[in-house]
């Protein structure tokens, strides 16, 4: 799914997250599927405790990881799009 940078992304309440050190896994209870999150993915999931846009998420992540703003924003948009495809988040345009 193509996500706009200012669209609000919100966790699906039926998704269960568990940390495995810096990384994590989620279970989508609706589909019964598990998904792996890297350390950055895990951090994004943490940040999504409060619904946020890709732009807001990127602004936090550029401070925490060694990445430039454009790369970060593109990566976050791509990642959030995958989360939406897997039903892990809802996106409000």
């Amino acid at each position: 799914m193509k996500i706009q940078h200012d669209a609000i992304v919100c966790r699906n309440g039926e998704v269960i997250f568990a940390a495995l050190g810096d990384e994590g896994v989620t279970l989508n209870v609706d589909t019964g599927k598990y998904h792996y999150f890297s350390d950055v993915g895990t951090r994004i999931w943490e940040l999504l405790e409060t619904p946020a846009s890709a732009a807001t998420l990127s602004a936090v992540l550029v401070e925490e990881f060694e990445v430039d703003a454009d790369t970060c924003r593109a990566a976050v948009i791509a990642f959030v799009g995958k989360l939406a495809d897997r039903g892990l988040v809802h996106v409000t345009p």
């Binding site: 269960i16 568990a18 495995l20 050190g21 990384e23 896994v25 598990y34 998904h35």
Partner: protein
């Protein structure tokens, strides 16, 4: 679940005045101290506990539960009660993670019922207690354990018995219950049982002289006391999912990534459908994650046949040592 391992200790001296009732048996099964009115075949007797975690008694069990909240072809659940019906054997009521009541259907005997107490009933009870019970055998060396999972007939018990011949201690034969120690590291609780092996496995491993009673009358599986049984719960370091079929020509061990490993732990748990019935998905995810933070999951494919057993055990030992 309870961390009380009372069955491994000794009864208080005062208990000897009123005890023992000659018709009760004491066991330590998967971390639970058990007091049973029927002899549980294949369970290794222990000293009685002051306050057993699990009581097994004989008594009347209804054919159906009032207003069951969920049911299947052979079971019903209502509140903390779980009714299991085994045709031609009897009915088993598993209640609140604390008791199992057995109502044997004539002409079945306590001997017939015993296998269903130790198998399905204890498995369901462990789910009621919120324990992660993997359907697999567990062996340990130097305080570290591996669990061997896999579909029925893939050689879990045979591999475990062969590793015991190589100096490993047997921790569990069929149900490996994962707990945690004081440092929150995963441990495996000894099941307090003998191995169950098919006749051909006994012969292949040259353990025939150690064979005891048959598991169930008319059932060609035998109880075997392995060369060394573990008492202290060892740390869980790896879970291997066994597979073997005629097309496999060589040993192959592959690491399973986290998301697939979560699925594997769910599938390889004891009676996974009943577990989902008795435990919330949050509990199931948390249990698996607690394991995967410290232990890894691998698939372990190997050729069939006892002539290739040593080769696959060599590969497994080498792999495990490098973890």
């Amino acid at each position: 679940m309870s961390r009380h391992d009372g069955a491994l200790g000794c009864a208080a001296p005062s208990a000897s005045a009123s005890q023992p009732d000659p018709r009760t048996y004491s066991y330590g099964i998967s971390g639970l101290s058990v007091e049973s009115e029927i002899e549980l075949l294949g369970a290794i007797p222990t000293a009685p506990a002051d306050a057993p975690d699990l009581i097994v008694r004989q008594g009347a069990v209804p054919d159906a539960l009032p207003a069951p909240s969920a049911s299947g072809p052979a079971w019903q659940r209502s509140g903390g009660d779980f009714l299991l019906r085994v045709p031609r054997v009897g009915r088993f009521m598993i209640s609140d993670g604390r008791s199992i009541t057995v109502d044997i259907e004539a002409p079945a005997t306590t001997r017939d019922a015993s296998a269903f107490v130790l198998g399905s009933s204890v498995g369901i009870l462990l789910h009621q207690r919120g324990a992660l019970a993997l359907h697999g055998a567990c062996v340990a060396k130097d305080g570290r354990a591996i669990v061997l999972c896999g579909a029925s007939g893939r050689g879990k018990s045979t591999t475990a018995a062969a590793l015991c011949k190589r100096g490993y201690a047997l921790v569990a034969d069929d149900i490996s219950v994962i707990g945690s120690n004081e440092n929150d590291l995963p441990i495996v609780r000894p099941d307090g049982r003998q191995l169950k092996l098919w006749r051909r496995s006994l012969d292949g491993l040259a353990l025939g002289d150690e064979a005891g009673d048959v598991v169930r009358p008319g059932f060609e599986k035998y109880f075997v006391s392995p060369p060394g049984a573990a008492i202290e719960p060892p740390l869980l370091s790896a879970i291997y999912v066994l597979d073997s079929h005629p097309a496999v020509s060589r040993v192959s061990i592959e690491h399973v990534g986290p998301a697939d490993a979560m699925r594997v732990l769910e599938v390889q748990s004891y009676r996974p459908r009943l577990r989902r019935e008795l435990n919330a998905p949050q509990t199931i995810v948390a249990q698996s994650a607690a394991v995967l933070r410290h232990a890894k999951v691998f698939t372990f494919e190997r050729p069939l046949g006892f002539d290739r057993l040593d080769e696959s055990l060599d590969a497994l030992e080498l792999h495990w040592r490098t973890l």
